[in-house]
Symmetry: C2
Subunit: 448 residues, 2 copies
């Protein structure tokens, strides 16, 4: 374990920030770090796959014919670290305090992906072999859209063929509570562009007769939801299914203080969202319509009396299973065409999209994962859904036809994407043990 | 006239752009140009008044005791010239083509203010005296908010005491149609700041439960007007009066092609605004609610899934007579407090304001101005209202208690604030004659 911790600190010292061009060499260093450790774990065919974006790293071990094949995924890139001054210790000089390692990428995803690599190494060193076949695919663009991997998966179906995927890039519900995330919402991200008059006009000369692109877009967006937060775009909820009885029961049993959540994690005077659904449902099992940003007209200091000719907004919908991103895009486009106010035209363009994914807690692989977690942690595994999106899980589902076991070893207070990101060293070790146990049980089950 | 044209070209060569610090010396040069020509016209006590902003220029001639005193106003500063590449000749190298002089500031307001100065010079040279008492006050901040003059007027009531003001900074309704603008709308310019959660949140983790400041502001703004363009803020229209029968008749008689106006000047697929009011009424006699700009959240290229914690909008209301800016501000603040969606607080802050002004066509000074214009142009003078705002006219009304004769010599196609601004040399000469005639008639009337 001591050596594995040293490896983790070395990994965390590489500032592999994927969105900043000045870190291109660090990205490469991180990819080669991963390559080295896949080799150390005894994988074969280990390769840094160069392409137009940041490289993928691949390795495999296929010495267990007749046993299942598991496709492991993770990412070696990290979010930018700013604002730097809010870090208690420098983001790329990992510090251990109270059993937590503080560094950018500690939990998202370097600590988790290294736990999985080291689980393989431990098994290999103990038995000279692995209990199942393994394919390991690691990307360096998860924080910037993942274009390379989402092109790679459909064009390498044969190479990546597997029975299930294992992804450790989520969080446990609370400390010492082994957790499987069974659902991820999808995402349709769009840009709405409004046009009014031919050019900006003076509001003194034309105010009262000229259409305003900013106000037109405001009017259209406001129509997209009712005052209680229901999306008013026709068809939007048509294919949305209620969560299963078993899931609802599981959620109802989780300890949760809504008022503490509201004032603590959300930091708002009230929670919002669709009436009639619990917080868990609104976060995991209901789609959303969110305006991430809006810009148009004059917004500098002081005053300028312009009637703006153009305005844009960034709008996304988080999608739930059976909501097709292309269908929802069409619904948005139709709604915009039919509801834009007179004199205003609004174009809705897709930026990117990913479907939701949902795994049944009764799927044999998920059941085995839950059993492994329960055995290692000595506690019943809980099933949750995440409101977020991991597009590669949708790609695995769509192009490889396999479910993903989302066995996350992060914690809710790990501060992903924020200053003072951390990862629990206990979870690093327990995660390693959990992954090893999962693979062992899979190997045993296949023999039985 | 030849010399006066040369003077005009010299004035136009000074790039006195008030908003750009690099033109500070040009501003000073323009002020001293004005000073020189006030002296040439025979005014006394001519002074460049330095203060914290751009200087005012003042001069007077008080040698006609018993006669009325007229306070003339104009401005020597101009708008920026960009986009430069859209000019057919350089903005500060005035060119005469087809009887028009092309240059930034030609019509707004250098050509018009110089016509008035030269009218005084002509009268002085012809008679050795002026027919009335004159006080001339010229500012250099009209295009940047006019702070200096609006502080100067109330603190120099005695110095500026007069029977009426004369302002040539508006346009004639159409060529060869002498025009008096009897009404100017006021302006209440505000900034609306919305706050939601304590900080930006991730829409995957919190989408469905967390309030969005951008969407909250969008919802609030959309509520401020109904779908037909009526302002829904309670009390907003309470003090708004219908224009007089005489005004309506005058407007109905003006030649106007709504479809040509829509496609040509406005450049929109449809005109908007309150149903039941003509274009003239919506532009001049009805208040507006306009969103000049909005900003919040992520608006860069690509995608970022943030739930924004803050958003702002620039919002103004053009006001009509008897609408008090402070009252309307209070109405906006109350509306925002009562109509902001749950979890969102919106603060409405005044940036600046000016009340509307309205002069009766039957006021003796306005009647005299109309008679002067009709005699010089050989056509009946028309009365219009402008939708714009000239704050100093409100200051004259409020602090000096005097009406303003808005005798404008610009034309609707002079392209103020836009590339290829121009001023008709015929209007320069006829304007000079009109102002001289106005002052003569005022002097005669007082004798009668």
């Amino acid at each position: 374990m001591r050596q594995f911790r040293r490896d983790l600190l070395e990994f965390l010292r590489i500032p592999s920030v994927s969105t900043l061009p000045e870190h291109k060499q660090d990205i490469r260093r991180a990819a080669h770090f991963v390559r080295k450790h896949l080799l150390q774990a005894g994988l074969e065919g280990v390769d840094v796959i160069e392409g137009s974006g940041h490289p993928l790293v691949y390795g495999e071990w296929l010495g267990a014919p007749g046993k299942p094949t598991i496709l492991c995924y993770g990412h070696y890139d990290v979010q930018p670290a700013d604002p730097l001054k809010e870090w208690d210790s420098p983001p790329f000089e990992p510090m251990i305090r109270n059993g937590q390692v503080y560094a950018r990428g500690a939990s998202d995803d370097k600590g988790q992906v290294l736990a999985n690599i080291k689980a393989l190494q431990v098994l290999m060193e103990a038995h000279g072999r692995l209990p199942v076949n393994i394919k390991f695919l690691i990307e360096g663009e998860e924080e910037v859209g993942g274009e390379t991997i989402s092109a790679y998966v459909p064009s390498h179906r044969q190479q990546l063929r597997a029975d299930a995927a294992l992804v450790s890039d989520t969080a446990m519900y609370m400390p010492d509570t082994p957790t499987i995330c069974t659902g991820l919402r999808g995402l349709l991200y769009t840009e709405w562009s409004a046009r009014g008059a031919r050019s900006d006009l003076h509001s003194g000369l034309f105010g009262g007769v000229a259409p305003s692109a900013v106000f037109g877009l405001v009017e259209l967006l406001a129509k997209c939801k009712d005052s209680e937060g229901r999306v008013r775009i026709p068809g939007f909820y048509d294919t949305v299914e209620a969560p299963s009885e078993a899931e609802r029961d599981s959620w109802a049993g989780l300890p949760f203080d809504e008022d503490e959540y509201r004032s603590g994690e959300v930091g708002a005077t009230t929670l919002t969202g669709e009436p009639g659904f619990s917080v868990f449902e609104r976060l995991g099992a209901r789609p959303t319509f969110e305006v991430h940003g809006i810009a148009g007209g004059f917004t500098g200091p002081g005053a300028k009396t312009v009637i703006p000719a153009a305005a844009t907004a960034k709008v996304s919908a988080r999608l739930v299973p059976r909501q097709d991103p292309a269908t929802v895009l069409g619904q948005m486009q139709k709604f915009a065409a039919e509801n834009s106010p007179p004199g205003i035209s609004v174009e809705v363009r897709e930026v990117h999209s990913a479907p939701a994914t949902l795994a049944s807690p009764n799927h044999p692989i998920i059941r085995t994962a839950a059993r492994a977690l329960s055995e290692v942690w000595g506690r019943e595994t809980v099933f949750v859904r995440s409101g977020g999106t991991i597009p590669v899980v949708g790609d695995f589902q769509e192009h490889l036809g396999i479910p993903t076991a989302l066995m996350g070893y992060g914690l809710p207070d790990d501060r992903l994407h924020a200053p003072n990101e951390k990862f629990s060293l206990r979870n690093f070790q327990m995660g390693m043990a959990s992954t090893a146990k999962f693979l062992e049980l899979l190997g045993d089950a296949a023999l039985a």
